[in-house]
């Protein structure tokens, strides 16, 4: 066992590796011969791809079309928050080929050296991107990521149960008017940063007193909140479990096609912008397939199929050109410019900050 003394200083990897070898005495050399070789494609990689994605984030036929075009079958797993994605990969890639982190997490993955640099020659369809998405601050020169969607957090609501348009974070964070019918997205960063936004502060470099103020506000508000959800706010809204919910624009736009009583607004205080990005994690078993898949998603026609289903705004000019009017002029998907001007991207501000946010949220949940 580990003696709990200061004399015991060692890098954890060498220590644990030694311990492991001593105790288990096991080696996988015998099993290496069993390494999986299913049907192999022309690039020497197995005809398979593990995609780790957000829920409701591909077109109805996207994966089937990719299989028809390349013979590669895609196995999709879902995550609900960026933190979950990061945690799953931080201790070694368990076999994913393509992941979809948001902007500030692209930074975080890069700092942790968990991303494989992209071979841009294998992604000719990047020429389809809108100019605004070609050289973002979180990934200068697009060396590690390709944009898949951009999105904005706002308020989804049921028109018949809400008075007028709830165009302020107040109705979610700081009011008992919709007591017991409020749903809040449980991602720590979003809860703190949007709280700061409500108090008129930027979502970046939030001063400590403001964080405390935000925590106190959430604690005050908690008795009125029905549920802290894991990105299934649109389902809760659709099933009548809540009437007003913090969610992404695309998710609400999706369910609005099923229920005309639903609507979405970006509050007047402004909100957080995200750019969900396609990346290849280090240790991806099938990097060439991953490049092909990313290139496939950036194709105009594929993109149109995706955005028609997921109703998220696209960073892809070729796809946008193929989209119908009711997508291009949809104020839920593309909120008005004066509101968008008040929205901003968040930054990765270091590990201590991440812990502070998490602990603040634990405090809110525990209160």
């Amino acid at each position: 066992m580990f003696p709990a003394s200061n004399a015991f200083r060692s890098s954890r990897r060498s220590l644990l590796a030694g311990l492991g070898a001593a105790v288990a005495g096991l080696s996988f050399s015998g099993l290496e011969g069993c390494a999986q070789k299913g049907p192999v494609g022309p690039n020497g990689e197995e005809l398979k791809l593990n995609l780790y994605n957000w829920d409701t984030y591909t077109g109805k036929t996207t994966l089937a079309d990719f299989k028809a075009a390349t013979g590669i079958s895609v196995n999709m797993s879902l995550f609900a928050t960026n933190d979950e994605l990061f945690a799953k990969l931080k201790s070694g890639n368990p076999g994913f080929d393509v992941i979809v982190p948001s902007n500030e997490y692209v930074t975080r993955f890069r700092i942790a050296d968990l991303l494989m640099p992209l071979d841009l020659a294998k992604i000719p369809n990047r020429a389809n991107l809108l100019p605004a998405f070609r050289d973002p601050p979180f990934d200068p020169g697009r060396r590690y990521s390709m944009p898949y969607t951009w999105l904005v957090l706002g308020i989804g609501y049921r028109k018949s149960k809400v008075d007028g348009v709830p165009d302020s974070w107040k109705w979610i964070m700081d009011s008992d008017r919709y007591r017991g019918r409020i749903g809040v997205f449980s991602e720590a960063d979003d809860m703190i940063e949007l709280g700061a936004k409500y108090y008129g502060h930027s979502v970046r470099r939030i001063p400590l007193p403001v964080i405390d103020q935000v925590a106190e506000m959430w604690i005050r508000q908690k008795p009125h909140i029905k549920i802290f959800h894991h990105d299934e706010g649109q389902d809760l809204l659709l099933s009548g479990e809540v009437d007003i919910v913090m969610e992404y624009n695309g998710d609400i736009a999706q369910v609005m096609t099923e229920d005309p009583d639903l609507d979405f607004v970006v509050p007047r205080e402004g909100s957080i912008l995200n750019s969900d990005s396609l990346c290849i994690p280090r240790g991806a078993p099938r990097p060439d397939n991953a490049h092909r898949f990313i290139n496939f998603l950036l194709d105009g026609k594929t993109g149109a199929g995706v955005y028609n289903t997921i109703k998220y705004p696209t960073p892809n000019a070729a796809a946008l050109a193929l989209m119908p009017e009711d997508y291009r002029n949809n104020p839920v998907i593309f909120p008005p410019a004066e509101i968008m001007a008040r929205c901003e991207y968040a930054d990765f501000e270091g590990l201590d900050r991440a812990h502070l946010f998490d602990e603040t949220v634990t405090r809110i949940f525990a209160a």
Partner: protein, 301 residues
Amino acid sequence: MDESWKKAKGVFAALGAPPVLWLLAFFLVPLAIIWGYSFGENKSLTEIAVDGTFRNYLHAVRPLYLGIILKSFWFAALTTLFCLVVGFPVAIAITFASDKAKSWLLLLIMLPFWTNLLIRTYALMAVLRTEGYINFTLAFLWNGVSHLTALFGHPLGPFQPLELLHNNFAVVFGLVYVQLPFMVLPLYAALDRLDRSLLEASLDLGAGHFTTFRRVVVPLAMPGIVSGILVTLIPSVGAYLTPDLLGGPSSQMIANVIERQFKTANDWPFGAALSFLLMYMTFLAIAVQAIVSRNRRGRER
């Protein structure tokens, strides 16, 4: 047989080596690592150094986390209490049933235990939801009554669904639901060993059923009650799935916090310290039980 291991060293080694090595390599070593991590700290986004710091434990015993642990124990205690109250009559019924009825009843109680925990929790969600089966049934009854009263000119007004899911009630309800068989079985095992003539004597001597229960059955079944409490309490304190799926804004239990340290917050050393804190408390509970039962045995002798 209880022979000394020296008499048959070959047999002893052949029997002992596989299970003991397994226990060591695939159970004690993983626990030891977590224990080691609980004295470590994050060096970067991916590196942890085990340097013997007590920081994590100091962090874990702050009021915030102690409060969550306390709340977990409170939920677990409520669960155990309800299981005991609900389960005792069931155990009595099984104990004093005929042989045939007994095996059927046992099966009836144990069958849900053999069904997947996640599925049982999911079934509860469908029952408790705002638009779930309970509210649906209540709305049906309410509307029926409302029709009747409308005949006399007093309709009841629209039905207000009960808020049953996503709150602390749902968590305790769900925990009782999944833990009940664990309480009934040890109770039954203890009651079954009970000397019935003592009960009959008590009843013959004029004590009522309730008095007999209180003065004879409960003291005699105490070991079973204690082990039932323990097997219900320990898993309930560490429950993860039930609060996660049925709970509301204030239903966070300690297992959810531990899970977040590993799966989202990226603070393994702190998560390790929290889980070991939970482990120490479990050991404490078991030690207390062992002492209690030893004292009892001492007195009986």
